[in-house]
C-alpha cells in the first residue's frame, strides 16, 4: 500500500517544479505567435528575450526569479479517502521545492517582519478548497508573482455605470500600471457577488485555457472588446510599446446585490505558471498540463 501523504507530496512537488520551469503549452504558443505578429522592433526584442528565456528554463531552471507566493486550488471528491493528508502534504512539497528546485523564499511576516525562508508560514501556502462529488483529488499549483499581483484591484462600482463602467475600470487599470506587470498580460475579471467573491472569480479566470471563450455570448463579447481596447493602447510587451499588451481577457460573474457592482480585476504576467494533476482514490496520478514523458 502506497503512503497517501507521500503520493500527494510527490505529486505537488512535481507540479511546483513543472510550473516554475515550463509554461503550459497554450501560453507558450501565444507568446511565440505574438513575437511573429509584432512589427515594433522593441516589442520583438522583448518577446524574443522571453522565448529565449523559456528555452533556457526548460532545462529545469525557474524561468522567473519571482516564483511567487504559493497558491493551490484543490478540488477534493467527497469520497476521496485521504482528505486528512492533503494540507500537510502540500506544505511539505512547498518546503521541498523551495530547497530543491530551488524556488525563492517569498513568505514574509507582515506584522513582525522576517522571511520564513521556506515559503510556508501563517496561512501560506494558501489552499483554495472546493468539495466536489466523486472520489478523486485535483490539485492545481499556481505560483503568483508579486509584480502582477500588485496591479490587481477590486472596484466597488455604482450599479448605474453598467457594463460600460466595468469595461472602463479594467481598461483604466491597464493604462495605470502600464508595463509594471510584465506584459503581455492575461487579465481575469470577476463581476458581482461581493468584494471578496469578485476578486476570487477574477483570479480563477487566469487558469482558463487561453483559446476558450465564455459560454455566454454576451460575456464572450465583453472579453473580446476589452482585449481589443487594451491592445490598442500601444503599451506593448514590458510597457515599451507594441501591439501585444494582453494575450487574453477572461470574464466571469456571480449574481450581485441590488446596491452593489463589485468588479475584481486580477492581472497575470506573461509567466502564467500553473500545473495540474489528478490523484485517484487508488493513488494513481495523472498529470494534466505537464504530462510525464511517454504519456
Amino acid at each position: 500500500m502506497k503512503d497517501p501523504t507521500q503520493v500527494i507530496e510527490d505529486t505537488a512537488f512535481r507540479l511546483l517544479k513543472m510550473a516554475v520551469t515550463r509554461l503550459p503549452k497554450d501560453v507558450e504558443a501565444a507568446l511565440r505567435a505574438a513575437r511573429d505578429r509584432e512589427d515594433n522592433e522593441t516589442a520583438k526584442t522583448q518577446l524574443s528575450a522571453i522565448i529565449q528565456n523559456m528555452d533556457i528554463a526548460d532545462a529545469g531552471v525557474p524561468m522567473c526569479q519571482d516564483t511567487g507566493i504559493i497558491v493551490f486550488y484543490v478540488k477534493v471528491g467527497s469520497k476521496f479517502p485521504f482528505t486528512d493528508d492533503i494540507k500537510e502534504a502540500l506544505t511539505k512539497a512547498t518546503r521541498k521545492a523551495t530547497a530543491e528546485v530551488p524556488i525563492r523564499p517569498n513568505a514574509v511576516n507582515p506584522i513582525v517582519g522576517g522571511n520564513s525562508g521556506d515559503n510556508t508560514g501563517v496561512k501560506i501556502p494558501w489552499i483554495n478548497w472546493e468539495v466536489v462529488s466523486g472520489d478523486s483529488l485535483e490539485i492545481i499549483v499556481f505560483p503568483k508573482g508579486g509584480g502582477s499581483e500588485n496591479a490587481s484591484i477590486v472596484g466597488m462600482l455604482k450599479p448605474g455605470v453598467g457594463l460600460t463602467g466595468v469595461k472602463k475600470l479594467v481598461v483604466d487599470n491597464a493604462m495605470r500600471y502600464m508595463g509594471e506587470a510584465c506584459a503581455p498580460n492575461i487579465i481575469g475579471v470577476g463581476i458581482g457577488g461581493g468584494a471578496d467573491i469578485s476578486i476570487k472569480i477574477a483570479k480563477q479566470q487566469l487558469l482558463r485555457p487561453l483559446d476558450d471563450k465564455h459560454p455566454e455570448p454576451e460575456v464572450a463579447k465583453m472579453e473580446q472588446e476589452i482585449m481589443k481596447a487594451i491592445n490598442a493602447t500601444d503599451i506593448g510587451p514590458m510597457g515599451l510599446g507594441g501591439r501585444t499588451t494582453v494575450l487574453a481577457v477572461k470574464v466571469d460573474y456571480a449574481m450581485r446585490h441590488p446596491a452593489s457592482l463589485p468588479v475584481g480585476v486580477a492581472v497575470q504576467c506573461w509567466a502564467a505558471r500553473h500545473s495540474k494533476a489528478v490523484i485517484s482514490k487508488d493513488l494513481e496520478v495523472s498529470y494534466i498540463t505537464h504530462p510525464l514523458e511517454g504519456d
Binding site: 522593441t42 526584442t45 522583448q46 528575450a49 522571453i50 529565449q52 528565456n53 533556457i56 528554463a57 531552471v61 525557474p62 524561468m63 522567473c64 526569479q65 519571482d66 516564483t67 530551488p102 524556488i103 525563492r104 523564499p105 517569498n106 514574509v108 522576517g114 522571511n115 525562508g117 508573482g145 508579486g146 509584480g147 500588485n150 460600460t164 469595461k167 472602463k168 481598461v171 493604462m175 502600464m178 508595463g179 509594471e180 510584465c182 472588446e225 476589452i226 481589443k228 481596447a229 487594451i230 490598442a232 493602447t233 500601444d234 503599451i235 510587451p237 514590458m238 510597457g239 515599451l240 510599446g241 504576467c269 506573461w270 509567466a271
Partner: protein
C-alpha cells in the same frame, strides 16, 4: 541605436555616451543587487558616516531579488530577472547622488526624481526584460559575496561578477530622455481611440 560593451567600474564619460534606445552589455566585478531594503540600509549608513561593504561608485546596481543556491559551498545565481523599479523611486535619487552608481537596471522604469538625478550624476537606467530570470542568470557568472544576508535572499546585497550581462536597453539617459515618459504620452494620446472600442466617447 548603438551597442556598447562596458567593463566596470564605468566612468561618468562612458555613462553619458548612452542614449535612450542604445543597448549595453556589462562585464566586471562591480555588479550589485539592491531592492527596497538594501537602498534604505545604504542610505542610513551614509547618514551615520558608515561604509557599506562594497564601493558603489562606477557600479551597476540591479533591482533584483534572485533565486540563489549553494553548490559545493559556493553561492550561485539560478534565476534573476528584474523587479519593479518604481518602488525604489523613494530612494534612488539620493542613492545616486551619494554613491554615484552609473547603471541602474530594473523593469518598468522610474520617475522624475530619478531622471533628474541621472542627469546630475551622469548615469542611466536600463530595462531588462521582466521575468527573464533564467536568461539573466547566464550573464551573472559568479557570486563573490552574499552581504546583508539578514535581509533575506531577495533583499540582500549580492556581489556579482558579470560576463556580457545583457541585452540591457537604455530607457532613461543622462540627457533627460525617458522612454517610459514617452510611453505615458503615447498611451495618453491613444485614450480616445481605446475608449471608443468599449463604447465610451470622450
Amino acid at each position: 541605436m548603438t551597442e556598447y560593451h562596458f567593463t566596470t567600474p564605468i566612468s561618468e564619460e562612458e555613462a553619458r555616451k548612452l542614449k535612450v534606445g542604445d543597448v549595453v552589455y556589462v562585464s566586471g566585478e562591480h555588479v550589485y543587487t539592491a531592492r527596497d531594503e538594501a537602498h534604505e540600509r545604504a542610505l542610513h549608513m551614509f547618514e551615520k558616516g558608515e561604509k557599506p561593504p562594497v564601493d558603489f561608485e562606477g557600479s551597476v546596481v540591479y533591482h533584483v531579488g534572485p533565486v540563489a543556491w549553494q553548490k559545493d559551498g559556493k553561492w550561485q545565481i539560478v534565476s534573476a530577472g528584474p523587479t519593479t523599479s518604481v518602488r525604489m523611486e523613494l530612494f534612488e535619487d539620493e542613492f545616486l547622488r551619494k554613491y554615484r552608481a552609473r547603471i541602474i537596471i530594473g523593469k518598468g522604469g522610474m520617475g522624475e526624481k530619478t531622471l533628474t538625478a541621472l542627469e546630475e550624476v551622469g548615469a542611466v537606467y536600463c530595462s531588462f526584460t521582466g521575468g527573464c530570470g533564467a536568461l539573466a542568470a547566464k550573464g551573472l557568472k559568479e557570486v563573490r559575496a552574499y552581504e546583508w544576508s539578514d535581509l533575506g535572499m531577495p533583499e540582500a546585497l549580492w556581489v556579482i561578477t558579470a560576463e556580457n550581462f545583457g541585452p540591457l536597453l537604455v530607457t532613461m539617459d543622462s540627457h533627460g530622455g525617458s522612454l517610459h515618459k514617452e510611453m505615458n504620452q503615447r498611451v495618453a494620446a491613444r485614450k480616445a481611440e481605446v475608449y471608443a472600442k468599449i463604447g465610451i466617447k470622450e
